[in-house]
Amino acid sequence: MPPKDYFAEKEKCKKFLQEFYTEDESGKKVFKYGAQLVSLAHREQVALHLDLDDVAEEDPELVESICENTKRYVGLFADAVHELLPEYRQKEVVAKDSLDVYIEHRLMMEERSRDPSDMRDRRNQYPAELMRRFELYFRPPSTAKPRVLRDVRAESIGQLVTVRGIVTRATEVKPMMAVATYTCDQCGAETYQPIQSPSFMPLIMCPSQECVTNKSGGRLYLQTRGSKFVKFQELRIQEHSDQVPVGHIPRSMTIYARGENTRVAQPGDHVAVCGVFLPLLRTGFRQAVQGLLSDTYLEAHCITLLNKTEDDELGAQELSEEELRQITEENFYEKLAGSIAPEIYGHEDVKKALLLLLVGGVQQAPKGMKIRGNINICLMGDPGVAKSQLLCYIDRLAPRSQYTTGRGSSGVGLTAAVMRDPLTGEMTLEGGALVLADLGVCCIDEFDKMADADRTAIHEVMEQQTISIAKAGIMTSLNARCSILAAANPAYGRYNPRKSVEQNIQLPAALLSRFDLLWLIQDRPDPDADLRLAQHITYVHQHCRQPPTHFTPIDMKLMRRYIALCQRRQPVVPESLANYITAAYVEMRKEARVNKDTTFTSARTLLSILRLSTALARLRLVDTVEKEDVNEAMRLMEMSKDSLQADKSSSTRTQRPADVIFSLVRELASEGVAGRGRGGAGGVVRLADAEQRCVSRGFTPAQFQAALDEYEELNVWQINQARTRITFV
């Protein structure tokens, strides 16, 4: 390969800077870099960011060479800019600081001593760095994917690479010498020494013509004011935890940020850094001693802050058609729910509820009042029913989550603590688990074991979604918009269905009512279910994986992305449904009164239904809530209540569903007589009403149809031809 003609390359750079333009809406040419050059010339702008995408439009080959040999091209572009600047200067610039004055003076000095026959610009005599007040950075082409830190290898040295990571250390910003200026004590001539490495060997003897010929032995003295310094900061970044293969230690990398790139990131920030991967040069003695090793660093060109959630989205592109189809096919709701903790057998409804928790309802904020959209769920259950595993799984699935146990965390650990910084003595606020889980899920295991005082801290979070602090002179309110997923053991080892919920888990009603769904996971004997359970477990032990089901569980990453997509929807409850929901609520209240329910039905229940139905609508990626959503929400409510009334339901188990449906319909019919309104007079009930009623009690439409047919055969009721009305005989 013939050596590159860098002079030609420089001309290319120049041409690009001068000629690149984009067209705005009106078709006018906008010279993107031309305009910037003007402000550079007027000292209104310091950093010039060259977008490599723009360069690619003009000359893709040039981009390639830039990425391969970045340091060289920074020099070429800088030269090009430097040469162009005088042409772009439109007005006289007032000197801003001493360095400007110095530059001006030096130019004048050159002017005066200039040989009239020599027409060359004398600025060349000074080191280029000294005369420049601009900084030049490349912005990576959008086609270049950010790399994982451990993929940056020896062959990347000298190239432009983009990496992502978390900042673990940032030094103070310090001035770093870029050009050292010396004056001679004999002849007074100035000598310049450009510095590339972190350390340098000062010059001692004056190299000027005068001193060398006279052998006067002029000594050089470093001149601080005449030297050029740049801002310098050293950062250390470390790989993200998800980029590290299992069982490896995260790698880290040193980053040098200069000039405008300093003070961008702080420890703990997630950043994407684009820069040149370079070996560290040493000079003199050290070079000899350093042996065969060389340290490397990344010379930052562009540091972008990412926040963790954005960062996740960056990795996840839009779902492709293919993937969307894969998810939204037939009974996707069951499929998604089943994909939660596939190794745990059964508990379909609990998994559905957990899926809704991940998706979350829509938050409403009418006139400053805030109604949370997050769904809180409490799982109760006998020991050993895989509650903790469910929690663990949700913790892993949710993009943002915190897992704590009630026994291990104090109120302070959950909410926020005021800490005194040991170094500066300043008071700082440190977020606890609930604050850290903001916009995510906070899983609290062994909720019942928590001390009462600590539990009260959660009250505020669960309804207002904020945490108020009034401690040590700090009064503030932090956001804690998280869903709470709690798991609790019953107070007496096993759940006693004869006692109320509060007695069973010994949690105050105020707290319990804040959970949208309370779920009791009990293991009841049931030969079929037991057999399937046994098959599941033996299969796991036999083959080290879960048995093949009728569907393959959706991949965790895909699921996360789908949930993120769902969360963008803001479905609303249409006016037409309002009546339906109110009626259902009134019905539930009435029933609660009649049955002396062990659970509550309060206004919060209504809100819960709304939340659940909006979450369901989100899951279907639609913008309005439909009747089915409400029905499903009510069904889940009903099922969760059912699970609590273990005793009753096990006795009604002996009753066939058809019988229950019959009694429900009859009830409806008698109501109709009493109310003389809705259902129809006498023993006539509208079939649609009856079906709604039954579905909201947790029966499937199929069961309902079966019951209809069965009782019609028994001649208990008649159904008209159009199947719209049931008439009792």
């Binding site: 290898r153 020896a154 935890s241 291990g408 004997p525 359970l533 046994a534 098959q535």
Partner: protein
């Protein structure tokens, strides 16, 4: 054979110094192949001196050594000149040299850094320490083999490592001397004894129990970062040239290296002072090794061939597995004061291992809680001694309040020094962790204590340790056998709880146990050791037929009494059945074994039930 070793060393030095320009490009791989071939031979491998055994300063630079170690930390990759050019100052002739397997360029030549022929390559540094918690007998056996031939003396020194012939006193002298030398050597730089707290003999005898020493060990100027307090041995920086992705943190390896102590002046500009101390400790304390070849060890039992899967010897052993099991059961029954059931469970526990993971669920773990251990006696300590005698690596953690509040259990990343500060729970696979809960007393756990207890709970339930990386936590799967000795039921979760029912009460426990130990013949003891390590590596399967029977059985049991068995119980029952089959050398589950497992479980649960009736309030 001495010649062989000498010759190997010679080859080594050739390999290290040759110029790559004048030979074929695959020359290097060929040489490595040759080494590997030679070292496969056990005989040859035993001629290579081991760093675990021979003090650092008796080894010759650039010679071949081996090191059985545990990867504690991985540093960032290092970039070095793979090929560089030197200029002879007198003749100006240029020579290409290889930069592999060495730290510094050869002296007497000027390195030309600006030549086009230089190639920058990358290598990875592992921080390796000896296997944490390795039992004394492992060292004794593995080095008595290699020491049996006195010809193995490294030619350049007068050191004669004939450990088995030396008396204990001499041994101690030999041990302390090098340290003194080292102290003198390292003194001016402000570093002192690597082992932190003084007298090595005391450490050797007391190490496991003297956790209080941990504090003093950590405060020493150069903390060598051993996972367990009171550990000793050389820590090494192992430079890996290829396939470093294959190795993971906490793996145990046997590496064959080129030994190097050449001093590189630590003056890296990108590193802070703390970092330098950690990453470039004086080579006399932390030698550098350049890895030629390594293999991952499945176990560190010297009585078994390194790769236990190729079990020609094991198949022979399997024949008398039943008799060995009987002997072991008898022995453990005596140790457990005549409780045969507990002994049975202890065997199952000792051969358990995590054989697979299903998402978050580790399969095969079998944490045993031995409750009813007499409080305020040395019984638990004695018990641990017995287990230590049987198991290649183990550690006893006294769960006293002080320990819980002060020990660092979970490794933590130290960003100022850029290294992973080790914790007690950073252990090699198949290490036994003996938690002594009888030491726990009433009192206040502070936040560290709560975190430590949580970490122990996580370890037991999920077989994982969340290493603390300050900004986030990283989950490291592990495979640690946890045995909890407690008075009542342990506060930690466990897979299986056995209440100890002593059949006899010897007046002097200590004497009783030591008599049992003494009466055990060394050959039988070795058989036990082989038995316990070998059975872990066996494969196991359940036939369709038995699976069906198990399923039906489960349904049947549920029908009779739903409270009697839950999903978790079935999990445990399957694990017990698996271990029970393996313990007699069967690799499939038979119906009889299944019934036997059920029977064992019934006996065990009855015992806890009984206890509940006696004690009333014990859960």
């Amino acid at each position: 054979s001495t010649q062989f070793y000498k010759w190997l060393n010679h080859l080594m030095s050739l390999h290290v110094q040759t110029k790559p320009s004048n030979c074929s490009p695959d020359w290097e791989t060929k040489v490595l192949e040759y080494f590997k071939e030679k070292l496969k031979d056990n005989e040859a491998a035993s001629w290579v001196p081991s760093l675990n055994d021979v003090p650092v300063h008796y080894l010759k630079a650039n010679s071949l050594v081996k090191f059985r170690c545990f990867i504690q930390d991985m540093f960032d990759p290092e970039f070095y000149m793979g090929v560089y050019e030197t200029v002879d100052p007198s003749s100006k002739s240029k020579v290409l040299r290889s930069g592999k397997y060495k730290d510094v360029a050869e002296c007497g030549h000027q390195v030309d850094l600006n030549t086009k022929n230089a190639v920058t390559l990358e290598r990875q540094t592992f921080y390796c320490v000896p296997i944490p918690g390795e039992s004394p007998w492992v060292k004794e056996i593995s080095f008595s083999y290699s020491c049996s031939n006195p010809a193995r003396v490294v030619p350049s020194t007068s050191y004669a490592p004939c450990r088995h012939k030396r008396s204990y006193e001499e041994d101690e002298d030999m041990e302390t001397q090098p340290h003194k030398q080292k102290e003198q050597l390292a003194g001016p730089q402000g570093t002192t004894d690597i082992h932190g707290s003084g007298d090595p003999k005391r450490l050797e005898t007391e190490a496991p129990s003297s956790l209080s020493n941990a504090a003093s060990g950590c405060s020493s100027p150069l903390d060598l970062n051993f996972p367990l307090p009171g550990e000793k041995g050389p820590a090494c920086l192992v430079k890996v040239y290829e396939e470093w992705e294959l190795f993971k943190v906490n793996d145990i390896l046997e590496v064959y290296d080129c030994f190097s102590t050449s001093l590189v002046d630590p003056m890296d500009c990108t590193e802070s002072v703390e970092e330098q101390r950690v990453h470039c400790p004086p080579a006399s304390l932390v030698p550098r090794l350049h890895m030629l070849y390594a293999h991952r060890l499945q176990h560190n039992n010297p009585l078994l061939p390194p790769a236990a899967s190729e079990g020609q010897s094991s198949s022979g052993f399997l024949n008398d597995v039943v008799s060995v099991r009987g002997e072991l059961l008898g022995y453990l029954t005596h140790v457990l004061l005549g409780d045969a059931l507990a002994a049975e469970y202890l065997i199952l526990h000792l051969i358990s291992t995590v054989y697979a993971r299903r998402d978050v669920l580790p399969l095969g773990k079998f944490t045993l809680n031995l409750s009813g251990c007499p409080h305020n006696s040395t019984y638990t300590e004695q018990l641990y001694r017995v287990i230590q005698q049987l198991i290649p690596s183990s550690f006893r953690l006294g769960m006293s309040l002080h320990n819980m509040n002060n020990l660092r259990l979970v490794p933590r990343k130290d960003y100022t020094a850029n290294r992973l500060l080790s914790g007690v729970l950073q252990l090699a696979p198949n290490t036994s962790l003996f938690l002594d809960e009888t030491q726990l007393e009433q009192g206040q756990l502070d936040s560290t204590g709560v975190r430590n207890i949580t970490a122990l709970g996580n370890l037991i339930s999920w077989q994982k340790v969340d290493y603390d990386f300050n900004y986030h936590q990283m989950e490291f799967p592990c495979n640690i056998n946890v045995l909890i000795a407690s008075e009542g039921k342990s506060l930690l979760p466990c897979d299986c709880h056995v209440r100890l029912q002593p059949q006899l009460a010897p007046p002097n426990l200590e004497q009783y146990i030591s008599t049992i130990q003494v009466s055990l013949s060394p050959s039988l003891l070795n058989k036990f050791r082989i038995y316990l390590s070998l059975l872990r590596t066996l494969d196991y399967s359940i036939s369709e037929e038995v699976t069906k029977a198990v399923e039906d059985d489960f349904v049947e049991m549920r029908k009779d009494d739903p409270q009697s068995i839950s999903a978790e119980d079935l999990h445990r029952l399957l694990v017990v059945a698996r271990l029970l089959s393996l313990s007699v050398g069967h690799t499939t589950l038979s119906r009889d074994r299944w019934m036997r497992a059920k029977h064992l479980e019934t006996l065990r649960t009855n015992r806890t039930e009984q206890q509940k009736c006696v004690n009333g309030n014990e859960p």
